[in-house]
């Protein structure tokens, strides 16, 4: 080893004097940047450029087409007013309260269920190779398919309720999907069904990555199974929680298609999420400024949640 290092050190000055080698090494230095440049440029324009563009539009009075004269924050004023119109609920009020309910339940239940299933599957059981894909496959479906399937299943006249009535349980009653106060929970059910298997797979990978020696040491120290998971395994899974949270959070924010396929907006628009609001106002109602303003508010909300979380999680890395 040492001889190689010495030779290379003695050779280096000679190499630097040769121009072709210098070009090559400079090229090698720049290569990653050159390769990344197109996607970097595309991201700058199509993500950050359009974010700025949307912010700009939200301060104009754009209707069907974008208009370029700044006319002030009227769109935000309207949204602000709608935020407090709870009786009867304005579409915006419905959208943001639904986002709160859906986002919290969806992320929380998916994490809890995913972790629980992963721990069960991690018990060295027979047939794991068969069970794992069964839980994972819903993720392979698009939201539209999930939505339509659950729409039929939850429809009182077609699915679960009808079937149980035919089997003789005539007092069974489950019409959440037709009920303005409960329809958002059916979106949670369908969403959890789809994503929890994937979260399970993430946790399973995390569990497999935990050093068996630590577990054994804990067992020798007399830890019960519950203590083992509570004190050792779950804290060690923290990075998986972070990844799972980010995956779930962005799925929750963009679940426009699930709401449309499952409920077509719900009775009286009671299943709307902010993404439905944004699409509806921008493209159907020709109120592009209001649509843009709602998109900006969505972005700021996500930023307000994700950035502190990322900061607190990633800060500890270089310990």
């Amino acid at each position: 080893m040492s001889t190689v290092a010495e030779t290379s050190m003695t050779l280096t000055p000679e190499h630097e004097t040769r121009p072709s080698a210098s070009v090559r090494s400079r090229l090698q230095d720049a290569l990653p940047k050159i390769v990344l440049a197109p996607s970097f440029a595309a991201t700058i324009v199509f993500v950050y450029g359009f974010i700025l563009w949307t912010i700009y539009l939200s301060f104009t009075n754009s209707k069907t087409f974008p208009s370029y004269a700044i006319t002030g924050p009227r769109a935000y004023q309207r949204l602000w007013r709608w935020t407090f119109e709870s009786d009867p609920p304005s579409s915006w009020y419905t959208s943001i309260t639904n986002m709160g309910i859906f986002g919290f339940l969806y992320i929380f239940i998916c994490l809890a269920l995913g972790l629980f299933l992963a721990i069960l599957l991690d018990q060295k059981i027979r047939g794991e190779g068969m069970l794992r894909p069964i839980y994972l496959y819903p993720m392979a479906l698009s939201f539209i398919v999930t939505g339509v399937a659950w729409k039929w299943f939850l429809d009182p006249g077609l699915g679960l309720e009808q079937t149980l009535h035919q089997w003789g349980w005539t007092s069974f009653h489950f019409d959440w999907i037709k009920n303005k106060d409960f329809v958002i929970y059916t979106v949670v059910i369908a969403g959890v069904w789809q994503a929890s298997g994937f979260i399970m797979a993430m946790f399973l990978a995390g569990l497999r990555g935990i050093d068996g020696e630590i577990m054994k040491a804990a067992q020798i120290d007399g830890a019960t199974t519950f203590q083992l998971y509570r004190r050792i395994v779950i804290p060690l899974l923290r990075p998986v929680f972070l990844s799972a949270f980010i995956v779930l959070a962005h799925l929750a924010i963009k679940s426009y298609d699930l709401v449309v396929a499952l409920t077509s907006g719900g009775p009286g628009g009671s299943a709307w999420l902010p993404s439905n609001f944004m699409y509806e106002y921008t493209f159907k109602r020709n109120e592009m400024a209001v649509g843009s303003a709602s998109a900006v508010i969505m972005l700021m909300t996500i930023t307000a949640i994700i950035v502190p979380y990322l900061y607190s999680e990633l800060r500890e890395k270089p310990r």
């Binding site: 087409f65 208009s67 009867p88 037709k178 009286g268 628009g269 493209f283 109602r285």
Partner: protein
């Protein structure tokens, strides 16, 4: 600025095309008539044009439906790549005309006499600033009842002439154990029914004031409250499972005899035809009680874009063929609507179609032809959707009383204006 940009691109593409001296023998058409009956109806137009030597090219739209098509159109127009024509509805035509991207068909219109044969109410949407920018294809009307005749005979019902008659008829159906009213609980269906309720409750003058002129006095009047009360009354006759149902499933309930009646536009007739049901023997079409003599309409239009000169001949051919009497008759017989010009012979139409045509003519002459607010022909989309929100929230119970509904309606429309 956008207009300048659009005109700039239009000019640029015009210059690029000017090199070709010969006319392009092709019609580029953006539309969402892809289902069986509609596609068959449109085929008539394709054949008419191919006889004149024009090829037909559909502009592909991913994911069917009017919304996707409108989004695609917006992108095409912003890129300066205009189709020859596009299927368009109501205020969309005027929005695009205001942006300066529509063509001018006035010459053809004068030659073909459209201004005399097309009802004045429709011209509000096909003529912008004195220029013809769109060719109306058909006229749908929404104030219809579609009744299953077998059920009607069983319960011994007769044609309801007033709103009270209608309620009595629904009671009879309820007593006989049939679902009285088939309704799909989606906001546009509820609002479409409410259009008819308002016309029936307040009369033609009131409908026009409230839903075409958006007169605030009319919107918050006691008549409007009464209309909401009547709507609430009708909603008591629907089955508990109505929320979110598609309109054609509601029509199917009437076809199968599970339900007595549906309040729906005349596109419902297409479903009856597809199920091989004949008017008069299998089903009955009546005007919504108390609205005879008036027609609440919506209409499909072919908006004509400002295409380069070498494509203008094809556009004129398309527009002429669209409003030709033979196509108007052939198309509308299949589609279930009535011709957009009042001088087309009604020989090929069924009983409902004949009544529809006679009603349209009478309403046009009597000044009782009104745009449907629910279908976007009464007011621009922002207002129309605010209206649909209020009606739907009233039907589903977020808005509890008709007093509250009227207050919300005034507020929502004011906000959206």
């Amino acid at each position: 600025m956008l207009r300048k940009l659009l005109i700039g691109t239009a000019l640029a593409s015009g210059l690029a095309f000017a090199a070709h001296a010969e006319d392009v023998k092709e019609v580029q058409m953006l539309h969402w008539w892809t289902s069986g009956g509609e596609a068959a109806a449109l085929n008539v137009l394709k054949e008419d044009l191919s006889k004149e030597g024009y090829a037909w090219k559909d502009v592909p739209v991913a994911g069917g439906g009017g919304d996707a098509a409108m989004t695609a159109l917006k992108a095409m127009v912003a890129a300066g790549n205009y189709p020859t024509a596009s299927q368009m509805l109501g205020y969309t035509v005027l929005d695009y005309a205001a942006a300066g991207v529509m063509g001018d068909l006035t010459e053809t219109a004068v030659k073909e006499g459209w201004d005399k044969s097309v009802p004045a109410a429709l011209q509000k949407f096909s003529v912008y600033d004195g220029k013809w920018v769109a060719a109306p294809v058909n006229v749908h009307s929404v104030n219809w009842l579609w009744i299953n005749k077998a059920v009607m005979d069983k319960i011994g019902g007769t044609e309801p002439k007033t709103f009270d008659d209608f309620v009595a008829l629904l009671d009879k159906a309820k007593a006989a154990g049939v679902i009285p009213l088939a309704l799909g609980g989606q906001n546009w269906q509820e609002a479409t029914m409410f259009d008819s309720v308002v016309l029936s409750t307040g009369g033609p003058e009131f409908y026009k004031k409230a839903f075409n002129d958006l007169d605030e006095e009319a919107l918050k009047s006691d008549t409007m409250k009464k209309s909401f009360d009547n709507l609430a009354k009708l909603v008591t006759y629907v089955d508990p499972n109505f929320s979110g149902r598609d309109w054609n499933l509601a029509t199917a309930m009437v076809i199968k005899g599970d339900a007595l009646v549906q309040v729906m536009g005349d596109w419902a007739k297409g479903e009856f035809n597809a199920a091989k049901k004949a008017p008069g023997t299998d089903f009955l079409c009546y005007r919504f009680p108390g609205t005879d003599g008036s027609v609440i309409y919506n209409s499909d239009m072919f908006g004509m874009f400002n295409v380069p000169d070498d494509r203008k001949a094809a556009q004129v051919a398309l527009a002429t063929a669209t409003l030709s009497k033979s196509f108007q008759s052939a198309f509308n017989v299949v589609k279930g609507s009535v011709p957009a010009r009042t001088d087309v012979p009604d020989t090929d139409f069924d009983a409902c179609g004949k009544k529809g045509m006679a009603d349209l003519k009478a309403a046009n002459e009597g000044g009782t032809l009104f745009g449907s607010l629910a279908q976007g022909y009464g007011a621009p989309p922002a207002v129309a959707n605010a209206y649909k929100d209020v009606v739907s929230k009233f039907v589903h119970g977020q808005i509890k009383t008709s007093d509250e509904a009227v207050t919300e309606l005034v507020k929502a429309i004011d906000d959206a204006k």
